[in-house]
């Protein structure tokens, strides 16, 4: 299992290092990666259906309660199969779609990175691990949206997506930490037992709101939906994979994951019903107002995500069964529609619906794919969508208090979505041909487009199988009440059938109304200033300007100013703090027990400091500072700290070298500072010196033997096979600290490098 999750990361690294050497021929082999993962997870289906949940345990940082455990139950299995299955199709499609792109290495690298992170996200059993993978999906999405980085708008779209999903991610982290604190564990399997504890906690509403912030941003719910249509700047295979089939469903996954422990009447249900309801209707309406096929698909995706949130809010067994089925159905038909759009875009050079007609004659197989997708979207027999739509209506009708309102909402949404589906799957292929595509559509393009549609029909014709493998285990996983209803091809003349017929009839009318796009519709779209996206963008601009002003005040480019601000602030803050805790209880006898050699070293230090301050020569000043450093080395040696002495010595040498190097580039030494500045510096330096002095005295006052020294001394050789305790602490006992420190060091090095080397030549706006 660990291998299955990590193989994508390894592949991503491999692609990254392959660089431009990556040839097209290599890319034909890449789809085998997701395909083999798909087979692996498909083989897991029988054991999961038999056992419920399978745990795979790997230790990570056990002492901190963070483990790399993976949990495979029907929910994660469904997602894992989608990720690898749709992944296979998308990778296959990309071999043809991206064939002529120059940066295949990056493309496949990011895509594999995403696949691996997404797998990790749905399989993680630990909240912290889950969060890490959650953020990694946001980051890989950022890279993929901005893949055509020369396109300024793509860059902006990528940044918007990252800000929205990343901001939500931070709030989610707080929610996860609070849940971990209350439940006393970060293991999901154990949290499953503490549902009552969480629900009874005072923090329950806070946790819910924070969790929702994470979910709604990731899954593009109103009013955070606007990053998704912008994200359509990504290459079409990416939009198919991340922004329709998998990543945006991560929020839904999380809702479903926590449904058993967090669901309840009131806040949970109402928020989800309201937000989901608004989103599904809003998305469906907006979809019909667009003419760009990808924009239509983006808004229908938003609408579909709204439906999923809505179903989770309903929370009845029927609704959860519908949710499980709809996640699958939507992934199948929507990826088909996206891939079809890519084919049309590739062959005709446009995605504008007003310009695409009559292409069915030239690409019958793509037309077939479009029809199958539209069929599934419309919820007509024999496609799988039929069952999910039935369950959807069944669930909304089953609501205790507001069944009419909710069913009406569902009906309108479904009608509009049906029309939007026909706009994509039917309209470009009928009527008078607008283009005459030169070449035949490659099988690598039409096969992945057609396959999901065929699968949906096959699954739709096997309702008993789908019920056994998906709806009933899915419902059992999420709730304790079993789902009583059944999937069947013919349910008799009932309310559900009536609703379906109404949906179809009204949908066809709406399609007919909207099938000739009018310019006025496009105008409506331009009123974006008042949309949530426009407002948030404006707010972000305001915020940026505020910080710009603040930074101009604080960071005026003079190093001396920075230093004085930092030191002054430190003295003020710490001085205010420690005056309450000073003890003045000094053991004078011990402090004054100074040996001659120490006194001499101190004297040398003081003299050097004075020399470096009053000296008129920069070289002399630097050299005296070096002397201070060497004296500190000596002190370390007296107190038997050879490691510190060595480090101090080498650092000191390098600093002096760096100084001398810089001296060359400086103008001649002139004494420009006036009396006032001298006083200011004296006060700052004196204050800081006093602070450190008092600190040192206070520290000396503390007991030195806390037992930790003894622990390190005793265990250095036993546990870590080292005799140098300092080094053992660095590389073993506190190795993670060191690891992070070298990363900080690396970042600092890169920072200096880019500051000096990469000059910004006035960026054209």
């Amino acid at each position: 299992m660990l291998t299955a999750v990590l193989v994508g990361f390894v592949a991503a690294l491999g692609f990254a290092f392959a660089g431009n050497h990556m040839r097209k021929s290599v890319s034909y082999w890449i789809p085998f990666l997701p395909a083999s993962l798909f087979v692996y997870f498909a083989l897991m289906v029988p054991p999961v259906l038999a056992d419920g949940a399978i745990l795979f345990q790997y230790n990570w940082a056990e002492s901190m309660g963070v483990s790399m455990n993976f949990r495979l139950d029907i929910l994660s299995l469904l997602f894992a199969l989608l990720i690898t299955g749709i992944g296979t199709l998308v990778f296959l499609y990309s071999t043809a779609y991206m064939r002529d792109h120059k940066q295949l290495d990056r493309f496949y690298g990011y895509l594999s990175l995403f696949m691996a992170s997404m797998l990790g996200l749905v399989l993680a059993e630990n909240l912290i691990t889950l969060f890490v993978f959650w953020e990694m999906t946001s980051i890989s999405s950022f890279f993929l949206i901005g893949f055509n980085y020369r396109d300024k708008k793509a860059g902006r779209a990528a940044l918007t997506a990252l800000c929205i999903t990343g901001g939500g991610g931070l709030l989610l982290l707080v929610a996860l930490l609070m849940m971990g604190q209350i439940a006393g564990t970060y293991s999901f399997t154990e949290i499953l037992q503490s549902g009552d504890l969480l629900r009874d906690s005072l923090m329950y509403p806070v946790i819910l709101l924070l969790l929702f912030a994470g979910v709604f941003t990731k899954s593009a719910q109103f009013p955070f939906h606007f990053w998704l249509p912008e994200a359509m700047r990504a290459p079409t295979p990416v939009s198919t994979y991340l922004h329709s089939a998998t990543m945006v469903k991560a929020g839904i996954y999380l809702l479903a994951r926590f449904h058993p422990v967090l669901e309840g009447p009131g806040l949970w249900q109402n928020t989800l019903l309201i937000v989901g309801g608004i989103t599904m209707l809003f998305g469906a309406i907006h979809a019909l107002l667009r003419t760009d096929m990808k924009a239509i698909l983006a808004y229908t995706t938003i609408s579909a995500l709204g439906i999923m949130v809505f179903l989770t809010g309903l929370g009845t067994p029927a609704a959860l069964a519908a949710l499980g089925l709809f996640i699958l159905v939507h992934a199948l038909y929507k990826s088909s529609m996206f891939l079809l759009t890519g084919v049309l875009d590739k062959t005709t050079g446009t995605r504008n619906l007003t310009q695409l007609r009559g292409l069915g004659k030239y690409m019958p197989l793509v037309f077939a794919a479009g029809m199958l997708a539209a069929l599934s979207n419309a919820g007509l027999l024999p496609a799988l969508g039929y069952h999910s739509k039935h369950l959807f209506y069944e669930a909304s009708l089953g609501h205790i208090t507001h069944s009419t309102l909710l069913t009406g909402l569902a009906l309108v949404t479904n009608i509009l979505l049906l029309a939007a589906g026909l706009l994509i799957g039917l309209r470009p292929f009928t009527g008078q041909p607008s283009h005459q595509p030169g070449e035949r559509v490659s099988s690598l393009l039409w096969l992945p487009t057609l396959l999901p549609g065929l699968l949906a029909v096959a699954a739709g014709l096997a309702p008993v199988f789908m019920e056994k493998t998906l709806t009933s285990p899915f419902t059992n996983e999420l709730t304790t009440t079993a789902f009583e209803g059944h999937l069947h091809l013919w349910g008799g003349f009932d309310q559900l059938l009536m609703l379906s017929v109404m949906t179809l009839a009204a949908g066809l009318i709406v399609y007919w109304k909207f099938s000739t796009p009018k310019e006025s519709r496009v105008d409506l779209v331009k009123r974006e200033k008042l949309s949530p996206g426009g407002l948030m963008y404006k707010a972000a601009l305001k915020l940026r300007n505020f910080f710009k002003t603040l930074i101009h005040i604080l960071q005026n480019g003079y190093l001396r100013y920075y230093t004085s601000v930092i030191i002054g602030f430190l003295v003020l803050l710490m001085g205010l703090r420690i005056q309450y805790s000073l003890e003045f209880n000094y053991d004078l006898e011990r402090i004054l027990d100074v040996q001659a050699i120490e006194a001499v070293t101190m004297l040398v230090m003081v003299i050097s400091v004075v020399v470096s301050v009053v000296s008129k020569s920069r070289l002399l000043a630097v050299a005296s500072l070096g002397a201070v450093g060497l004296c500190i080395c000596l002190i370390f040696l007296y107190f038997s700290a050879p490691d510190l002495a060595m480090t101090q010595f080498t650092i000191d040498t390098l600093t002096v070298v760096l100084f001398v190097l810089l001296l060359n580039g400086l103008p001649a030494y002139l004494l420009k500072a006036d009396q006032g500045i001298h006083w200011r510096d004296l006060i700052l330096a004196g204050g800081f010196g006093t602070l450190i002095f008092v600190f040192t005295l206070e520290v000396l006052n503390q007991p030195t033997d806390s037992g930790i020294n003894a622990f390190y001394a005793e265990n250095a050789y036993l546990l870590a096979k080292g005799k140098n305790v300092v080094n053992v602490i660095l590389v073993d006992f506190r190795g993670v600290d060191t690891l992070i420190e070298i990363v900080v060091l690396a970042v600092a090095g890169l920072g200096v490098f880019s500051l000096i080397k990469l000059k910004v030549t006035d960026a054209p706006e």
Partner: protein, 150 residues
């Protein structure tokens, strides 16, 4: 300091003594830094100090002979050492996970190797630290040096 001729680069001190000495000092110091790195687990030393010593060796050489010489000596940009080092340290932390042990558990070979002594993941980790330190220090100093040149 005045610049007399065009060959004279920043930080290049045209003293014959330093130039001659640095030619001999550099390999010695580099060897010494590796020695310090390896013995770090038992005696004073370690990756951090070792890396600093190696940086000093190269910086002093660069000083005496000009940045161009040191660059042609290294043949690659020292910045490349940074990711290499981080990766090495990271991998030595991940390695025990494949044996079912927690992240960063020390793994050791039973047999001692000649000269080096005990070899374990900690040594690779320390080597990673060493590389990052060398890479960062040289990147910073060389960038500044080149900036002054231009």
């Amino acid at each position: 300091m005045h610049r007399n001729n065009d060959d004279n680069q920043a930080g290049q001190m045209t003293t014959l003594i330093l130039r001659t000495a640095s030619t001999y000092l550099m390999p010695l110091l580099l060897l010494f830094s590796i020695f310090i790195l390896i013995r770090g687990h038992y005696e004073p030393g370690g990756g951090f100090v070792g890396g600093l010593i190696a940086s000093i060796a190269l910086v002093v050489y660069g000083y005496a002979n000009g940045l161009k010489r040191i660059k042609s000596f290294l043949q690659f940009h020292p910045g490349g050492l940074i990711p290499t080092g981080v990766t090495l340290a990271m991998l030595s932390g991940i390695a025990p996970m494949f044996l079912g042990k927690p992240f960063m558990t020390g793994l050791w070979l039973d047999q001692q190797l000649p000269i080096i002594g005990h070899v374990g993941t900690a040594l690779f980790f320390d080597t990673g630290v060493y590389l990052v330190v060398v890479g960062t220090t040289l990147t910073i100093i060389f960038s500044i040096g080149e900036e002054i040149d231009s």
